[in-house]
């Protein structure tokens, strides 16, 4: 009788543990593998690794708390897309050797074109979460989708901020603003810059006083700064790629270049946490269009958006120890979350049904990670108006959200920027 009693206790414990395990895994049955292609070595590795980490954090969150994808545990086969040639060959490998039906990545505008072409040839879905080259979704490829806005959207948002916020703060009308454009010369920099130029001129009549493109691996930008000093703009629209933002800012300080505001877009350059690490409080002032940063009011999101945003932020903090999310984490995590929503709706990766699920997904702003909404057009591009973006500013060595003002507790400072030694 005594043995019987113990057997019942042990049996109950085993059952309890089993039930707990099943509940923790949301009863996932089997695995579903996708390809993740990022530059993990070479010049673009800093951002590539951040993106991969963002995917991994979101994957683990989806598996542990949101029922996997299509009821299965999401797993990755990864590839290193160090340059466009390797990106194409790795995309082919993921499709043919790993047998994946969906590839996501590659963040860089220099890589996404080649990777998506290769995926298309293998009849594999290409799910881009970061690259902003407008050409990606203008090739009539039915297998290509992008969750992030494209470069024209970045330019559109930057001019929106300049015309509707900075002009007012500077006490000028938009058509009284003198604006100079400086950009690294990849398709990313060019697409953002050219769309900004077009909107600034045609819609707001801003006065363009300079335009310079440069290679982002440049070792010296003094000559450019001297030209900008001669042009004397109110606003500098600077699209930087990585370390060039640090080089420019340091040399601009040395040359005592005075401008009323500097506006950037994207998670590179001024949008990279490394900018603040390199310059400390000397980084104060420039703006970067990004995903939401410190100060964002998550309560302004819709309930379902609040739930996933809070869960993702907790997961990032558990992994990195930081309350501050990197842009790479947010773009990758946000894009993978939308992919999960599509796969759960489609219940298959068969292209026609998958595409139909993408097109029918209609979520208002505030429904997903980063406060994004979702509405794809026929080209496979998520809508500019739904992919809510935010202007962040470097304040005391940290990027904080300052615009749109209804989404944040912070306010833009140093408008105009003023002398270098007084931006404290």
């Amino acid at each position: 009788m005594r043995n019987m009693k113990w057997a019942v206790v042990v049996g109950l414990v085993v059952l309890g543990l089993g039930a707990g395990a099943v509940q923790g895994q949301q009863q996932l049955s089997g695995e579903y593998k996708i390809g993740v292609l990022e530059p993990l070595t070479g010049n673009l590795a800093v951002q590539g690794r951040l993106h991969l980490e963002g995917y991994e954090i979101m994957r683990d969150l989806i598996n542990s708390k949101f029922g996997g994808v299509m009821g299965k545990k999401l797993v990755f086969a990864t590839g290193d897309a160090v340059d466009p040639t390797v990106a194409a060959s790795e995309a082919t490998r993921l499709a043919t050797r790993e047998g994946v039906k969906i590839i996501t990545g590659t963040f860089s505008s220099t890589l996404c074109g080649a990777a998506s072409e290769a995926a298309s040839r293998q009849n594999v879905i290409y799910w881009e979460t970061s690259c902003v080259d407008p050409r990606l979704t203008r090739r009539n490829l039915k297998n290509v989708f992008r969750t992030e806005i494209d470069g024209t959207g970045f330019g559109w948002y930057n001019i929106e901020f300049i015309a509707k916020h900075l002009a007012h703060r500077l006490g000028k009308k938009p058509n009284e603003l003198k604006i100079a454009y400086l950009s690294e010369d990849s398709s990313y920099g060019q697409s953002v810059t050219e769309s900004a130029r077009q909107r600034a001129k045609e819609e707001f009549g801003m006065q363009e006083v300079g335009l310079e493109y440069y290679t982002f691996t440049t070792n010296d930008l003094t000559a450019v700064i001297l030209k900008l000093k001669n042009a004397n703009p109110d606003i500098l629209h600077h699209i930087a790629r990585d370390q060039d933002a640090i080089l420019f800012w340091r040399q601009a300080r040395e040359q005592n270049f005075q401008v009323k505001a500097v506006v950037h877009a994207g998670a590179t350059g001024y949008g990279n946490p490394g900018f603040g690490k390199a310059l400390g409080n000397d980084s104060n002032g420039p703006f970067a269009l990004l995903e939401p940063g410190p100060g964002v009011i998550i309560d302004k999101f819709r309930p379902e958006g609040q739930k996933i945003e809070r869960a993702f932020r907790e997961a990032v903090k558990a992994k990195t120890g930081s309350d501050v999310l990197a842009g790479g984490h947010q773009l990758a995590g946000g894009g993978l979350w939308v992919l999960k929503l599509v796969l759960d709706a489609a219940k298959t990766d068969e292209l026609d049904k998958f595409r139909a699920a993408v097109m029918s997904l209609d979520l208002p702003v505030g429904s997903a990670v980063n406060g994004w909404g979702v509405k794809f057009d026929e080209t496979g591009q998520n809508s500019n108006a739904r992919v809510q973006h935010y202007m962040l500013q470097w304040q005391n060595g940290q990027l904080v959200t300052v615009w749109p003002e209804e989404f944040t507790t912070n306010r833009g400072k140093w408008i105009p920027l003023g002398p270098w030694d007084q931006r404290k």
């Binding site: 800093v46 440069y214 070792n219 003094t222 001297l226 001669n230 640090i246």
Partner: protein, 293 residues
């Protein structure tokens, strides 16, 4: 006109750094006839050495600079013994593959050890700016310029007046004749490689307070150094220095007058033009290109 002093200063500061990287490269080629495709990675390791000594031991980068010379001579000597010695008499193809392989290996070792994150060596005086005659420059640039000039001059003096330098030049002129004269050419190659690596390692330490440190940091400098070496005449140290200054001038003045997006086009056009007119480079021996000199 008011920009000219600044443009001249920028040219000199940039050119001196390119020159220090280029002289090590051209020295190795001139004596050993090996194009070192891993030169940029030794530059990157110098940058990490300065950063590591500053972050872990609180060493000022200019203290590290002094220490880096014997350290890098040892690194150069060891890398010659392990990697270069077996292939120094092999065909150019084997040498190219070996140094390219070394380059990739060093880059990836750096990536594994220190990740792809950029590191920043921010000294207390990193933001100190000196303004003279309408030109502005920071302390780190001035020190890098001064140290580059001093090291390059010391290398010239070493090659011209020291016994070892003469032996190295003799080996550069004719390896077989030198061996017949009793010169230990293997030892000469080891010294040459070590001195060349020490030059680029020291350049890396000097660059660390100015530029971010990351595994591919060397590439953006060393590609220009290759152009300087060929433009100046393969194996000609004075030619490499002058070519480095010419490239820096074309970059800086070209950016200001024509546009930044044109600066690579401008110096590569100059490079192609010089090679068409003088295939051996500005100061190279006529016909040297035919025998791989």
């Amino acid at each position: 006109m008011h920009a000219i002093p600044q443009l001249i200063v920028s040219t000199l500061l940039l050119g001196a750094i390119y020159a220090l990287i280029a002289v090590g490269l051209t020295l190795i080629f001139g004596v050993m006839r090996v194009v070192n495709f891993a030169h940029g990675e030794f530059l990157m390791l110098g940058m990490y050495l300065a950063f590591g000594a500053w972050a872990l031991l609180n060493f000022d980068p200019y203290v590290t600079f002094v220490l880096s010379l014997p350290i890098y001579l040892a690194v150069g000597w060891a890398s010659y013994r392990v990697v270069m010695r077996p292939i120094v008499h092999a065909s150019h193809n084997v040498q190219v593959f070996t140094t390219v392989g070394l380059s990739i290996a060093l880059q990836n070792v750096a990536l594994v050890l220190w990740t792809a994150d950029a590191r920043f060596l921010r000294t207390d005086y990193y933001a100190v700016v000196v303004r003279i005659f309408g030109a502005a420059f920071n302390v780190a640039q001035i020190v890098a310029f001064g140290a580059s000039v001093a090291l390059t001059a010391a290398l010239f003096a070493f090659m011209r007046w020291s016994y070892t330098g003469k032996v190295m030049r003799a080996t550069a002129q004719d390896r077989q004749a030198s061996a017949l004269m009793g010169i230990d050419t293997d030892r000469v190659y080891a010294i040459t490689w070590a001195v060349g690596i020490a030059c680029v390692g020291a350049a890396g330490v000097l660059l660390a307070p100015i530029y971010p440190v990351y595994p591919t940091a060397g590439l953006q400098f060393v590609l220009i150094a290759y152009v300087a070496v060929v433009l100046g005449g393969l194996g000609n140290m004075a030619g490499a220095v002058i070519a480095a200054l010419v490239i820096a001038a074309v970059e800086v003045f070209g950016s200001y007058v024509i546009g930044t997006s044109w600066k690579e086009v401008l110096y590569l056009l100059l490079f192609i033009t010089v090679l068409v007119v003088r295939p051996a480079g500005l100061f190279g021996q006529r016909g040297a290109e035919m025998v791989g000199m």
